[in-house]
Symmetry: C2
Subunit: 222 residues, 2 copies
DNA sequence: GTCTATAATGAGATAGAC
DNA sequence: GTCTATCTCATTATAGAC
């Protein structure tokens, strides 16, 4: 491997580490295994990273960015949903399709989360991971309310916490059982239960909201 | 440590392993650390167990038994609940109190579950763990229905899956955030949502159910 | 039967040739 | 700058004294 900047090397090693963790768990992600996966000698590892711990922190940070970039658009509705229940259901189905498409990757995320929680000096990363999920959930909930002309009957932050817990339960249960039918039933159930925490806007309110949105987007364009 | 049967040694090591895993994670549960925690020299470890892997399998098995014995009675209502919503809420609060009382223990359980899922030859233990949770949930749901004179409007097995996913999400979210208020809100929400999947028996049905119960218990005594 | 002492392995990290 | 060869340390497991 001639000519490779340190930062290129770092991202190559982070990517390789993710693949190794997905395949062999965190315990199997030795510097040797990671370097070999990245196609470089083990010694090059320490040329790019101070220590294995520094790499792991970088892996978690990388994963956070990646998730924020990939999950947010995934939550966007493919077609205009009829009501809140449908909007939530399609969002959750989309999320589930993502984890079902690459279960090993998702298990790696769960393991990294546990790793952060148990590694002294990395606890803040675990918090960050949850805060990122939470922010994502809140954004999605606000978007859904706007999309189907509804309001949340409780603080949207509270409902965001619940979305996080629901998706977390869905994920870890499915990873353990691989029971697709149960997952879809749970999504139905969750969408229904969360939708009950919203109420449709009255026609006049909906009109006002639409007008306000127009004003805002016009203003943004000007 | 003079005079200690092999089976005593095994249970002592399994107990010690659980403490070490709760404190230092699965990765920190070396044979040395476990033996030291059990107050015996490291060599005694291999006098009781073939290998570290054999111990870990035994730990998971032990945990399954322990959970079944401790969670089932914990789900029993402390006082007669007014309706299904209250019954579920008190059951879930009881469950949550259990994990909040010993978070490290619960984290150890989660880690063991992941360990089983990723260790070749131990996948069946991961399945067992979930099946045990599931069976527990179904039993609790049946008991709750009897207690408050209600019927489940969907197969109780389907609802059992959902209880497992809900408690799982509750657990891992709380372990990551330690947000008690959010946990209680989630319990409220979950109890409400699940209770909607039940309907009260009519007075005549309730009477018939009570009579049937009496017949059964009399029959059991005879 | 029990424990001290040690072998064997594999880990993270580094020195030094190129 | 890069990689080969090596160091040091901690691990599992065992041999052998008591």
């Amino acid at each position: 491997m001639t000519r490779m900047s340190v930062s290129e090397r770092r991202t190559a090693l982070v990517d390789a580490a993710l693949r190794v963790i997905a395949r062999d768990a965190v315990a199997g992600a030795t510097t040797r295994a990671i370097a070999s996966e990245a196609g470089m000698p083990q010694a090059s590892f320490h040329y790019a990273f101070e220590s294995r711990d520094e790499l792991m922190r970088e892996v978690v940070r990388h994963v956070l960015e990646q998730e924020e970039r990939s999950i947010l658009p995934a939550m966007a509705p493919t077609s205009a949903p009829a009501d809140m229940r449908e909007a939530l259901k399609s969002g959750l189905e989309h999320y589930f399709a993502g984890i079902a498409a690459d279960p090993d990757h998702e298990r790696a995320m769960l393991e990294l989360s546990q790793y952060s929680q148990r590694t002294p000096g990395a606890e803040h990363l675990a918090r960050l991971q949850y805060e990122s999920y939470f922010a994502l959930a809140v954004t999605s909930l606000r978007a859904a309310a706007e999309l189907v002309d509804a309001r949340w009957s409780r603080p949207v932050e509270e409902i965001g916490c619940m979305i996080v817990a629901l998706t977390d339960g869905l994920t870890s249960t499915w990873l353990a059982t691989r029971d697709d039918a149960a997952a879809h039933r749970f999504i139905d159930f969750a969408a229904d239960a969360i939708a009950r925490l919203s109420e449709p806007l009255s026609p006049s309110e909906a009109e006002a909201a639409a007008a306000s949105r127009n004003r805002l987007s016009t203003g943004a364009q000007a």
